[in-house]
């Protein structure tokens, strides 16, 4: 029936037939194309001044497979972003440091090096002088002349014990590689560290140690001739828990963009309790704790070249945690960068209105009045509680300080607080810290290193909930002076209280229980003796 109808239409009105027919087959021939749009960006800079040429420049062969290269710092009208090191004509490294160890080389071979500095605008300095060095021929102690250099030996060794970690540093009379074995027993089976880099000075951090435990260790060094000797055999004892408060956060943590790379710079806390920093990166939000993202660096350097950090993601968030030698991290200093933001525009953006402060919770947003005022903010410096006035908090330039906000005055949905202050004269020096809830839950806190320059530092404390909504902020100023008028200090306080109180209470409780158990045991003994 339908066929006949179609035939009739085709015979009488062919145009109508084709329209009907086409409508029936069209679903079969619909285009299934795929499209994707993206941007191509090019930054044209107004800055054309190139950095100065790195000088002096030196290359030194340290073994049959390693040459060390060192150079002097360049200067620039803006900021030197880093250095590109070339072997022959091939670029082999990009670094913010002033030294590089080229390893894996062929014995008895001459290599030529030069270095160039570059800035954020892509201006590149002229090449340094080209210098050559020849790696050692392969020599072992069997064909070593009698009058040649003595076997390696130590000139210094230092061990900084923490609660669950220790930092071992040593210096030898000549460049060596080393092997370190350590453990609780003579078998030294708890840990093993090896470095194949020839250096006169080495340092390593041993993690995962037990608190208040004696560790034995043996340190072996190997010189360029392959001679391995026992440099040191000894022991160290880790600290018991809660012996040290956290160190302050790093100072002036700055992240700047250079094409797809990110240059990170900061200042380490200048205290003996400082052990190392951990730099953590996350492309979703600011890492809130030391394992909340990709760990891109651990050590004691104060700069880092995060190569190709923006090759996959347009934005990266960084947090630097400073550890004390007990292995306790600071609250964290933060910075973020956005692809293609070059120079000052990419520096330490305050994350106000940034919807990626922390990992979002699923909690429903609750609207509560924001009651916090700047007068509620307090600072503890040198064990002295310093309250805020209406606009200012008066501080000394010489000591670290803890800034804190009482939890009771914050909305119940508060998850993250970011404290940001600005250097009074240098716009580039902007500091943002995460404030963390203390163990008792009574305050949100962050510890800052001493601010060495006097003046008024604009301060802003921004409060976010678990959904990254900004709940409110307070702002004022930190007034840094060389001496504080004694009238403003009101209340001496203990720097770190909660941890000690908890530990003290536990120790007291255990002591009482132990005493009771001992008495019961003795009574039982007496009773048994009596009946026997």
């Amino acid at each position: 029936m339908m066929f006949n109808t179609m035939l009739k239409i085709f015979n009488q009105k062919p145009t109508l037939f084709f329209i009907i027919w086409l409508s029936m087959v069209t679903p079969l021939v619909a285009l299934a194309q795929a499209s994707d749009s993206f941007t191509v960006r090019q930054y044209i800079s107004g800055d054309t001044e190139v950095p100065t040429t790195p000088t002096p420049f030196s290359v030194t062969s340290l073994s049959s497979s390693q040459i060390d290269i060192t150079w002097g710092a360049s200067t620039d009208n803006t900021s030197v972003s880093g250095y590109r090191l070339f072997r022959e004509t091939e670029q082999i490294a990009t670094t913010t440091l002033l030294t590089y160890s080229d390893t894996g080389l062929t014995p008895n071979t001459t290599y030529t090096y030069f270095v160039r500095a570059f800035d954020l605008s892509g201006n590149v300095s002229s090449s340094s002088v080209s210098l050559s060095a020849t790696t050692d021929a392969v020599i072992d102690d069997t064909n070593l002349p009698q009058s040649s250099v003595l076997p390696p030996r130590l000139t210094a060794i230092d061990i900084d014990e923490g609660t669950e970690s220790a930092r071992l540093s040593f210096a030898a009379v000549q460049p060596v590689t080393y092997t370190l074995r350590y453990g609780i027993t003579d078998a030294l089976t708890d840990g093993f560290v090896q470095s194949d880099l020839f250096k006169k000075e080495h340092s390593t951090i041993l993690n995962g140690l037990e608190p208040f435990t004696k560790y034995l260790f043996e340190l072996y060094g190997t010189d360029r001739f392959g001679r391995q000797v026992l440099l040191e055999k000894g022991s160290f004892t880790t600290l018991s828990r809660y012996e040290l408060p956290p160190v302050s956060n790093v100072t002036f943590f700055i992240a700047t963009v250079s094409n797809l790379d990110v240059v990170l710079k900061w200042g380490n806390p200048m205290t003996e309790a400082f052990a190392y920093v951990r730099v953590v990166r996350n492309h979703y939000y600011y890492p809130q704790y030391p394992s909340d993202g990709l760990v891109i660096y651990e050590g004691t350097a104060e700069s880092l070249y995060d190569e190709s950090a923006l090759s996959t993601y347009d934005r990266q968030y960084y947090t630097v945690f400073a550890y004390n030698i007990d292995g306790v991290p600071s609250s964290g200093a933060i910075a973020t960068v956005l692809k293609n933001q070059v120079g000052s525009s990419g520096i330490n953006q305050t994350p106000v209105n940034d919807q990626s402060v922390s990992s979002p919770d699923d909690n429903e947003t609750i609207t509560e009045p924001f009651r916090l005022t700047f007068a509620d903010v307090t600072v503890i410096q040198s064990d002295i509680l310093i309250p805020a006035t209406a606009e200012n908090i008066l501080l000394n330039t010489t000591a670290p300080f803890m800034i804190r906000i009482p939890t009771a005055l914050l909305p119940s949905t508060t998850k993250t607080i970011i404290a940001t202050w600005q250097h009074p004269f240098e716009a580039i020096k902007k500091t943002s810290y995460l404030m963390k809830r203390n163990q008792a839950g009574t305050f949100f806190e962050a510890i800052a290193a001493p601010m060495l320059d006097t003046g008024l530092y604009p301060l802003k404390l921004t409060v976010f909930d678990g959904s990254n909504n900004e709940l409110g902020f307070v702002s004022g100023r930190l007034e840094l002076v060389t001496t504080i008028d004694s009238q403003v200090v009101t209340e001496p306080v203990s720097y770190v209280t909660t941890g000690y109180i908890i530990v003290g209470s536990l120790i007291g409780l255990l002591t009482v229980l132990g005493t009771w158990l001992l008495m019961l045991f003795l009574l039982q003994l007496l009773r048994e003796k009596k009946y026997n």
Partner: protein, 252 residues
């Protein structure tokens, strides 16, 4: 009546040949030297048909087919709804050319992105590129001109005079169009040499790669290199220049 039937049958059978010769999207299951058919459907009648070049065994077809969905279900009504052409375009990402170019002294910057086209279309695919604006690279009111090859084909080398500033691209890959292949000195045919055969974007789609065959499931990668060159005597205003670019993959 017989004449009408013959005409009708010929039309029904040969119209798809014309239609498919426009390179529309069907994954063919039947083919001759002149055409390929993904899935025939005579939505009225059915049965066996033949000519010199082909034979078709059709069933009574379907009407009222297609997709429908709600929160709880999705229906693909009709047996041919399961015979879609698979085509994907993946990997395109934002490109930041580097290094930054000093606006006064000039220089060159490069960058690239790599996309992969995968299709089970037996007659392959075509990949085109186009810019959203002309010229493509803009920053506020400032622009960088699209690269203009000297001849009809792309330039073997990316050449920018001291008084010029240009933005161009060069595709690389196994399926790039002949236009972007070279003989070691001239573009238009031959092999694919990296960083050679530079062209300028336009708002009209330009085919940069194609294949006459299915490449499912591995797909084929095409790398698109971009380059900006600013001549030494050009004072290019400072700023972030952005070119929004669209890649489109079409099954053949």
């Amino acid at each position: 009546m017989r004449q009408v039937l013959v005409t009708f049958g010929a039309t029904v059978l040969f119209f798809p040949v014309v239609l498919f010769s426009w390179s529309l999207s069907l994954a063919q299951v039947m083919e001759s030297t002149n055409y390929k058919i993904q899935s025939d459907s005579l939505n009225t009648g059915g049965g066996f048909s033949s000519s010199t070049n082909y034979q078709i065994e059709s069933t009574v077809g379907e009407v009222g087919t297609g997709n429908s969905a709600s929160n709880n279900f999705e229906i693909r009504a009709g047996y041919q709804q399961m015979q879609e052409v698979y085509l994907s375009l993946t990997g395109a990402s934002a490109v930041v050319l580097g290094p930054a170019i000093p606006g006064v002294s000039g220089g060159n910057a490069t960058g690239s992105t790599t996309v992969t086209v995968t299709t089970d279309s037996l007659s392959g695919y075509r990949l085109t590129i186009e810019a959203v604006s002309s010229p493509a690279m803009q920053s506020g009111g400032n622009t960088i001109a699209d690269y203009v090859p000297a001849g009809a084909n792309p330039d073997f080398m990316f050449t920018v005079g001291s008084a010029d500033a240009y933005f161009g691209f060069s595709p690389e890959g196994a399926h790039i169009a002949n236009r972007y292949r070279d003989n070691g000195g001239v573009c238009g045919s031959g092999a694919d040499t990296n960083d050679r055969c530079w062209d300028g974007l336009s708002t009209t789609p330009v085919t940069i790669a194609s294949s006459p065959n299915s490449n499912h499931p591995n797909g084929t990668a095409t790398k698109i290199e971009f380059q900006v060159g600013v001549g030494s005597s050009v004072v290019q205003p400072a700023g972030t220049y952005i070119a929004t670019t669209t890649l489109t993959a079409l099954p053949l």
